[in-house]
Symmetry: C2
Subunit: 237 residues, 2 copies
Amino acid sequence: MDNMNLDQHISQRFNQDLEEIRSDLLEMGGIVENQVVDAIAALMDADSEKASKVLKTEDKVDIKEKSIDEECTQILARRQPAASDLRLVLAVSKTILDLERIGDEAAKIARYAIELSEEGESPRGYIEIRHIGNCVHKMLHDALDAFARFDVEQAIKVVKQDKSVDQDYATAIREMITYMFEDPHSITRMMNIIWALRALERIGDHGRNIAEQVIYLVKGKDVRHISYKEVKEKARS
Amino acid sequence: MDNMNLDQHISQRFNQDLEEIRSDLLEMGGIVENQVVDAIAALMDADSEKASKVLKTEDKVDIKEKSIDEECTQILARRQPAASDLRLVLAVSKTILDLERIGDEAAKIARYAIELSEEGESPRGYIEIRHIGNCVHKMLHDALDAFARFDVEQAIKVVKQDKSVDQDYATAIREMITYMFEDPHSITRMMNIIWALRALERIGDHGRNIAEQVIYLVKGKDVRHISYKEVKEKARS
């Protein structure tokens, strides 16, 4: 092989590596997204079997995270990427942390679903769970989609969605506290609903983090810890 | 300058860079540790002035995180570290995420402290806050100390502490729910105590994450998502 071919060969191999961590990330994202959907459904339908399915997937997610993290380290050590390649590796290595934590929150929701299913049905708080659950599932889906297509505008939308989830969450918590006050016998039950709402809100935060990584990856700009308005301006400039 | 001197010069500059991110990390750790201490004190003493001080430090922590993250990216792009140098950079870039989130949790506690101070004093839940607060402060302090001294044994101890914090937290939450049941008028107040306990428990989790990074850094072993017993075995082998 002459030098130019060798260079090309190395560069192809490198692109393959980068493509691999990206597709592995999206695969991990798909698994975690299913966990979230199943956990919410388990809660709504008092379906402890579905909840157990979510808990059984936890190990799979952890293994996936470790292996992608290891791939990222290998690429950094062997290929010494620069510029946008380096940003891709760093964005993947941070995004898998968020995905792993979303999986953790989904597992928590599954555990609350099991406890709630033992206590029998009650409509209190279910509208709020369904509503916020739908919102954060959409956020996660859109954030992963933005990552798959390197789509900054989609990422900006996810950051915006997080703001409205936070507002809906605060309102829902106040409602649940009112229910507890009106019917102290429901306190234990309502606490499980409150924890589930909290877990959903956290999933929204992690969805936002993923969207911020997409903006960093494409634009090279760190848009964490700033308002939605500032994110929009910075990402589009 | 001959070649050898140039090599030495580059390598000295590189070591300076590594030393800098390490000391910047420890400085950021010190700021965050103070936030935790002040937030707990603000809660215990119904001191809303101290709570405001914690909230004012949030920006400082965010700026510190961004600048260390940027330094890490620069080192990866320009110096292409390998082996233990690469592990140091990666461990720093993950640990600052945990420190930033500990700062977030401290800010949450400060906000609950302000709400609680408006409602007047009540001894309910304060023993639990003080006890768990002391434990997680110790965990954070020990984790940062382990990072400063690359001390694996100290890091193992932090992982062990997290287990006992989780147990104490579960017991405390059960107690708070009993109080709410006995005195529904205290529900709003107790919810603030519960959120503060939750924030402390999360700080403990992040302290454990930092300790796990120390083990990765020194031993090159990923000890996340495994039990304390497994961590101990893996870190010592």
